[in-house]
Amino acid sequence: MSAPVRIAVSGMGAISAIGNDVPSNYQSLRSSRHGISHIQQLDTPHRGKLLVGEVPLSNAELLNRLGIHSAEAYTRSTLLALLAVKEATADIDVADGHRTGLISATTVGGMDATERFYDDYLETKSHRHFIATHPCGYGTEQLARHLGVTDYVTTISTACSSAANAIMLGARMISAGRLDRAIVGGTDCLSRFTINGFNALMIYTDGHCSPFDEHRNGLNLGEAAAYLVLERAELAMGRSKPPLAYLSGYGHANDAFHQTASSDNGEGAYLAMKQALEVAGLDANAVSYINAHGTATPNNDLAEGNALLRIYGSAEAVPQFSSTKAFTGHTLAAAGAIEAVFSILALQYQQIFANLNFTEPIAALGIVPQTTLVSAAVGHVLSNSFGFGGNCSSLLFSHAHE
């Protein structure tokens, strides 16, 4: 697989537990300020017990910020996505005649409405206008209408690698000459469905998650939306501002090991990273920072760590890396996009963000993440996203001046 067409990142937008836009997300990363706290917005018996990365805005506040009437049927994932998409496209004229596509990722879709009105729909008419919001594709269609994208619109759902795959598809569609521009990313709000699902899997930490720590014992869930504007480099060059970064590589593989667990040697993760480097035509040693998937579950971090050791040969050779999941929580289908934004921020500000809550390296691996904010020469960043069903993806972002 080769990427003869250079893919520029011309815009980005993000909303997460650590900020309602990209600058505020950056401020939190820069000051190592996490967004994990008790549930405030979602109505669930898990309130007061579970720590999550929740966006501190109610649906009513989100609607208000977007200027959408509260009588209209928008679910929370779509509201978060709309804010991120607006920020990402603020300087882009989507209707300038170039072929623009929209590729959005979600796993929750409109499930937060379905679970709330599951019996109510049958009994009263008052919320039935939300019935249509259930399919994952519905929110994408609402985004498309707000953006004015009419032709190529699609939605990806591959669990926690969903947004990374949306970004990858955008790059491939541009490389294949089928699009000039792709608005790509993902969104997932917290829902009782996912909160209870991961609870049933007994995958939560009892406190704050500690990625790549010997004593890590599970994840915090989070919610977020993040989108990038990818363009054919020549199109991006025509603008007064230089691109934010380039997407120089991408890879996807399936672990084909288990429905939910990763193989110990991290086969899928290894293949995805290897492919991303191949597409970029880069040696693994050219990577200055790895934004790891690092969910802080015993299984993921071991598998991902082993995959890193397979790529680099030894613990010493692994470049600086961190998981930012301790800031945002694991934001599922949005994770690949919010972490793509963080990877691009690392390139823009020449900084590596902290892997919070770390005390002791995993004995079986011997790799040590970057635990504080540090300035560094960051030329290429690898960003990993792995999911249920064995779906593993890796994206490689490069400095705009490279």
């Binding site: 594709g137 699609t154 990806i156 598809l169 089928r178 899997l201 593989a253 084909a256």
Partner: protein, 354 residues
């Protein structure tokens, strides 16, 4: 859109509400139904899936694995390099089951299996697991363009990897509560629902159904290939289908008259079938118009079954009477155009050629 290389189909298999898994079946006898929704006409899944695994699989997983394995058998292969799937609604029954368990027992320990198996990528993942396929594995969930998105990705993938072979397809299952929701939302036909669905003097609403169809494809022609997909396009929103189809034909260097049969997504919903009537009048007067949703019902990825039918038309060189809506038997069937939309949105075009 640039011309992309065609992809060649080496095997195909589908489960639907008609006995499409029976050897040689080609719509010469039709199962009739007078209900809404209609579950798939199940094959004996045990023939291809070990009983122990089968018990743990939801409907989407078993339909997807069964048809994927059948398509592989037909193509004479045991594995592939990539799996690309579309599913508008994913594993609905497990989703419903998990919602129902959390509504009664939230906060207590719930069974995680329906949650795990509710994720939309579970059918593609189950195929990868069954085939031990470490390659590219994707799931599109874009309503009635989910399968078309998978076709487009398959074409792009095989352009990037000219030596590879892949499985692609679509799967959607019915959910009991979700069907009630669609009924409340006004999507479903209430008045005398029937398969075959009458298309003349039709009434509002769709017939909800389910099914799965998978294909084995590569970028290389073989003497035994069933046909090829030469082009695909999707359009989320347009009120000018004629312009959309004309542009598609032009991009592929074709006149409307070069199409031997046009598969259209007539589903008997009086609110939207006029889109097909208008297109037929504008571009395909007198052409052979072929239907399939009036026999298979409506679901997001039913177009996958339309592709399987198109390939059979090429092989059999005849249009079964139950499928033919207008026009005459073409002298030869070398080129089939599939045009579908659902509820006026998610328009899809697929060109299938000999």
């Amino acid at each position: 859109m640039p011309m992309s290389k065609p992809i060649y189909i080496h095997g195909a298999a589908g489960i639907s509400i008609q006995p499409t898994t029976e050897p040689g079946y080609f719509f010469d006898s039709i199962l009739r139904y007078t209900q809404n929704a209609i579950p798939a006409h199940d094959p004996d899944y045990k023939v291809l899936i070990p009983a122990l695994q089968l018990r743990r699989m939801n409907k989407s997983m078993r339909m997807a694995i069964f048809t994927a394995q059948r398509a592989l058998q037909e193509a004479g292969r045991t594995t592939v390099n990539a799996v690309i799937t579309g599913s508008g609604l994913g594993c609905l029954r497990d989703s419903e089951r998990f919602v129902e368990s959390l509504l009664t027992d939230e906060g207590q320990s719930l069974n995680p299996t329906p949650f795990i198996q509710s994720t939309h990528n579970m059918a593609a993942a189950a195929i990868a697991l069954a085939l031990k396929c470490n390659g590219y594995n994707m799931t599109y969930v874009n309503n009635a363009n989910s399968f078309e998105s998978a076709v487009l990705d398959s074409m792009v993938y095989l352009d990037e990897h000219p030596d590879d072979t892949l499985l692609f397809g679509g799967v959607d299952e019915l959910g009991e509560r979700t069907t009630q929701f669609w009924d409340l939302a006004g999507y479903l036909k209430k008045q005398a629902p029937a398969i075959p669905t009458p298309l003349a003097n039709s009434t509002p609403g769709e017939i909800a159904a389910e099914g799965a169809t998978f294909f084995v494809a590569s970028g290389k022609p073989t003497p035994s290939a069933m046909g090829k997909i030469s082009a695909v396009a999707t359009c989320h929103e347009t009120d000018d289908s004629k312009a959309l189809v004309s542009r598609f034909l032009r991009e592929n260097g074709l006149e409307a008259g070069a199409i031997d049969a046009v598969l259209m997504g007539y589903n008997g919903d009086s609110r939207y079938d006029y889109i097909y009537d208008d297109l037929a009048q504008a571009l395909f007067m007198g052409a052979s118009i072929v239907g399939f949703k009036h026999l298979l019902g409506e679901y997001d990825t039913v177009t996958a079954a339309g592709v399987a039918i198109s390939l059979r038309l090429l092989g059999e060189q005849r249009i079964p009477a139950a499928l033919q809506l207008s026009g005459t038997q073409p002298k030869q069937i070398a080129r089939v155009l599939i045009y579908t939309q659902r509820r006026g949105r998610n328009h899809g075009l697929i060109l299938v050629e000999r």
